[in-house]
Amino acid sequence: MYISANRTADGTRPRSRTSWAVPGNVLALGGVSLVTDISSEMVTAVLPLYVTLSLGLSMLQFGALDGLYAGLTALVRLAGGQLADRWQRRKLVAGAGYGLSALSRLGLLAAGASVPLLGAAIAADRAGKGLRTAPRDAMISLSAPPDALGHAFGVHRAMDTFGALLGPLAAFAVLTATAGAYDAVFVVSFCVAVLGVLLLVMYVRDRREPLPPGAAGSGAVSLRAAAGLLRDAPFRHVCAVAAVLGLVTVSDAFVYLLLQKRGGLGPEYFPLLPVGTAAVYLMLAVPAGRLADRLGRVPVFLAGHVALAGAYLLLLGPGWLVPVLVLHGAFYAATDGVLMALAGPVLPERLRASGLALLQTGQAVARMFSSVLFGALWTVWGSEPGLAAMTAGLAACALASWFALRPAVPAHRPDPARRRR
């Protein structure tokens, strides 16, 4: 038995596609992510200050600690998806990831000023994040009807982002209450993370498909089988589109830097720019997901990239602060969860976590290359021609993606009779 938010008084009403109701399992996973993001953003917010001002390490040491494991998340994510599918135990693998990240807070506490131990704690947190992402998204995609996945992912991402916004405030509250005790931030963060794990254990249900008969042990789910997903045309197209669009997406750091320069924003407001994007993302994630369920996920996913191109054009032109942040947040709302909702139904259930991990890793690697590409363009041409080139590339790739995805992915068009409640 699990809590179901769409139970009505008589408990029997079938869910309608335009219903605002969300399966209880999705709400439970959203709650886990909300709580876990409070915990992890508490640490992220104070770590640079703690390491440099309190421990007295050089910024070089912090940079080395922080950058060392950037690739780790991507690799562990593939492993997390693979293990979740191989055992058909998505909840177990996700739980291991949440648990590992929770334990990493105690690692920070125990590490003191020891650089190797700090590095180990940060690595454990990153590994936990990598491990849990794909199994969690697979569980979401298996918890809602295929025609309501956009809404389900929208709700999850909104809850996740809300947690990320609360985290720094929680850390600030703890630091204020304790006159700057960073260890108290780590302990509170640990307690919050344990609550996340408990919510997962108690309220999240994993759909346990029996392994296909005849496929003894790990035969059915293997690295080869996961890679073989790419032989399937719809999924291959989705992966290719995500990677190509990732390649022409300017990283957030550059967007904020350009916005600060173009908009003439005081440097003291610089750290608030990501907060603006996140706030818009939070507000638009659910409407964008629902729109994706009604109009089709491909149009909404590509419209998100059009919004991003719009943000770039504004950066090239007047550099208006609020419109750029709104378009930037709309881009995330229309693409992040929607991409998972788009890919979920074209993946077989027994390989869903592996497939989503492959897609996410491909997109992340493409974005890493895009940073190098944009850096090179900036060096050769300067920032504005570089951004103009990325904008043109984005527009061209979004158009090409439309033609690549339209025939490949079933649109999940709504039944007109059920369109209105």
């Binding site: 922080d66 600030f172 108290a184 509170v188 750290p271």
Partner: protein, 328 residues
């Protein structure tokens, strides 16, 4: 577990976790005089702090204090402002102080001889370097801003210069036209840090980093341009006579002990390693015409600036050392 049983378990768990969190936080808050780098009030009694012949520094507890130059192990004159980085010259001080908040913020505060606030520049980031030119006119500082680099999760530096005569503050000098190796240079990843001004209040030296390399640059404030002088030199500190620089040279790839202090003779451009062999992450300050001082671990040390001699402990539990000259 049925939902009827689950809810009490969850409530019990939340109560228990909240008790652990609140209990630890309460204990941490009462733990006693833990060093608090986030003390909000900058202002402090400055009576006699900047008297000539003093060595002024920041204590581990985060306050500016002073000892007589002749007896640096004496009990310090305490009660100065709370700063994370501090420098002073000609009766004017620059104090970088981290401001409490959900995101790292720093204020650069200019203080007069009595440590009263003259001007405040609000910045983002984490305090790193602070310098005042010998005349007290040009203040400069560096803060670290995280998540602003084209490697996500990286960091960059924002270096600012305040001309106190005009009141104009450059908060991020990245847009200064840079000539690197004789050619005008453009790159999104340039970062500056560690400014030191010459006696003319116009010529300055600093570090620029780009593409994983660092360079010593010589800048002209009025013409707003800079050119690189040589590779691999960070956090320059100009000698009082303006003929030599002491700087951090990267001598190892190990991020735990990367640097060694070196001297650069600006006339011959010859460099000499100083006798301090431990890695120092600080912008050195000149104790006198022949000696520099710097933070090493929790203490301030000094070493002759010509490569001879040996490092000597100067002040325990201190950082940001600066000498107050005999004549302002």
């Amino acid at each position: 577990m049925t939902s009827a049983r689950r809810l009490p378990v969850l409530i019990a768990a939340v109560v228990l976790l909240a008790a652990v969190a609140a209990g630890y936080a309460g204990w941490a808050a009462r733990r006693g005089p833990a060093p608090d780098p986030r003390a909000p009030a900058v202002q402090g009694g400055g009576d006699g702090l900047l008297d000539p012949g003093r060595l002024v520094f920041r204590t581990t507890a985060g306050r500016v204090a002073a000892v007589p130059l002749g007896d640096t192990s004496a009990a310090p004159v305490d009660g100065g402002p709370a700063c994370n980085r501090f420098h002073t010259a000609a009766g004017v001080s620059v104090c970088l102080v981290a401001r409490p908040g959900p995101v790292p913020m720093t204020d650069a505060v200019i203080l007069d001889r009595s440590m009263r606030e003259l001007q405040r520049v609000e910045l983002a980031g984490i305090p790193n370097r602070a310098r005042m030119s010998a005349s007290g006119r040009m203040a400069s500082w560096t803060v670290f801003v995280t998540g602003d680099s084209y490697n996500e999760g990286g960091f960059s530096t924002w270096t600012g210069i305040l001309d106190r005569r005009t009141g104009f503050a450059v908060t991020n000098m990245e847009d200064i036209p840079l000539t690197l190796g004789g050619r005008r240079y453009f790159s999104p990843d340039v970062n500056y840090w560690g400014v030191t001004f010459a006696a003319d209040d116009n010529t300055f030296y600093a570090t620029v980093s780009t593409k994983g390399k660092t360079y010593l640059v010589k800048g002209d404030y009025a013409r707003w341009e800079a050119r690189t002088l040589r590779e691999n030199a960070e956090c320059p500190s100009l000698s009082p006579d303006g003929t030599r620089l002491v700087f951090k040279k990267r001598v190892s790839g190990d991020p735990d002990r990367p640097w060694r202090l070196h001297l650069l003779d600006l006339a011959t451009m010859e460099e000499t390693p100083l006798a301090e062999t431990a890695s120092v992450d600080d912008q050195a300050a000149w104790l006198d015409a022949r000696t520099v001082m710097y933070g090493k671990g929790p203490d301030v040390w000094s070493v002759p600036a010509d490569g001879t001699g040996a490092p000597a402990l100067l002040v325990r539990d201190a950082s940001s050392p600066v000498v107050v000259g005999r004549s302002p």
